[in-house]
Symmetry: C2
Subunit: 216 residues, 2 copies
DNA sequence: GGCGTCCTTGACCAAAAGGGCAAGAAAAAT
DNA sequence: ATTTTTCTTGCCCTTTTGGTCAAGGACGCC
């Protein structure tokens, strides 16, 4: 086995154009399928068909179903957690929180599948994400909870449990992605409709802000 | 074919004790499995094993996987929608809404699997429930939205979009069932812990009520 | 334009999954 | 106690699904 073979065996060879393109197409299709049916409910054939590629070809890029799932999950994860990180302690609580809520609502409108992918994973008991939840997620929540606590101490917010407040924000915003089907059944339209998006935003922002900002 | 055979073919014969018992045990096990893996991710063998029964025996009671799923879904549905119906126009808005929120939170604590079963169905696009969502659910939401609108007209509530307010209540309460795994990862404990339940209730009730009740 | 590597797929395989059947074991009815 | 009905399971079948393999075709580099 020469050096090149070793390198290739380790997967450390330079990625070709075709590789990059196809891997991305695969992950997009996989996101669609996994977000609808969960890991166990999704089939490799289904993903392959959605990509317009033979199954063996798909498996040339990702050898196991697991690998596809893990790849799409990790690809999504950072993007998903980002908004919370944006929330800065220095700013005005109202501005910061409203900004965060708006970002999450935009995510629900623009990236609903990503949201559904996570809930599918959570429903199963988060077998592939358990570690991340208990470390990275927990850490960032603890950190932001501290920020909220300081705002409360400064009298800028009503006293509330910060973690449960974060849960409320997550719940109310992600609802529009996760329960999209239900929202559409009741409302007749979804978040892609500007009026619906505005009504949802206004309601969520107003009620939550009125609920935690002091005075009046 | 005599009368009895005809009756049996129609399934209209009296249910025996064993039938009642086993069907219930099956539906319980099916709820567990379907709520974790969704319709497609669940397997009949898995359910059979959970019941402690051979697969052919299980299929003696429910001939197809579909039938099990439909049965557990409809069994859960009424129970699930009930609390909304309890909300009466005559009462005081605060009492009624707080009561509703509390009931939903208790549901999340006591019947989390039922909640997860629904979200699994919704994620798939509600293929088995679409009709119900667009009729019964939509109707009851419209009805309750009218009640809320009247409360607003009477100055008993701040002006908010009633439907989105209902969504917020659903989202914040069901979150504790659907995201149980995540809640546990962050908090270290779930809603079965009395302190957690109290903290969640207080936060949700306080923030929402403060967010929509007028004055002060 | 030739050559080595990468890409693609048809054919195939083993395991898992939905479901049927017939025959024996338990219950119920007589 | 016998007969009838209901319950239960071992065995089998078919389809689906995850995954392999060998061989042909495309690509990129000299």
């Amino acid at each position: 086995m020469d050096a090149i073979e070793v390198a290739r065996a380790r997967g450390s060879r330079k990625r070709t154009r075709i590789q990059a393109e196809n891997e991305e197409k695969i992950l997009d299709a996989a996101l669609e399928v996994f977000s609808r049916f969960g890991f166990r409910g999704a089939t490799v054939d289904q993903i392959a068909e959605k990509v317009g590629m033979s199954k063996p070809n798909l498996l040339y890029y990702f050898r196991r179903k697991q690998d596809i799932y893990t790849a799409v999950l990790t690809r999504t994860l950072d993007m998903w957690l980002a908004p919370l990180g944006d929330m800065s302690e220095d700013g005005d609580p109202e501005t910061e929180l409203v900004g965060y809520i708006r970002q999450k609502l935009e995510q629900s409108r623009d990236k609903p599948q990503e949201s559904r992918l996570f809930i599918g994973e959570i429903l199963q008991g988060a077998p592939h994400l358990d570690k991340v939840l208990k470390t990275e997620l927990k850490d960032i929540v603890t950190e932001k909870a501290a920020v909220i606590r300081r705002w409360i101490a400064d009298g800028k917010l009503i006293p509330v449990d910060p973690v449960h407040l974060i849960f409320m924000i997550w719940a109310t915003t992600q609802h529009y992605a996760d329960f999209d089907t239900q929202v559409r059944a009741v409302l007749g339209k979804g978040m892609n409709n500007p009026a619906t998006f505005r009504a949802a935003s206004d309601t969520v922002v107003n009620v939550l802000m009125r609920g935690i900002l002091p005075g009046r």
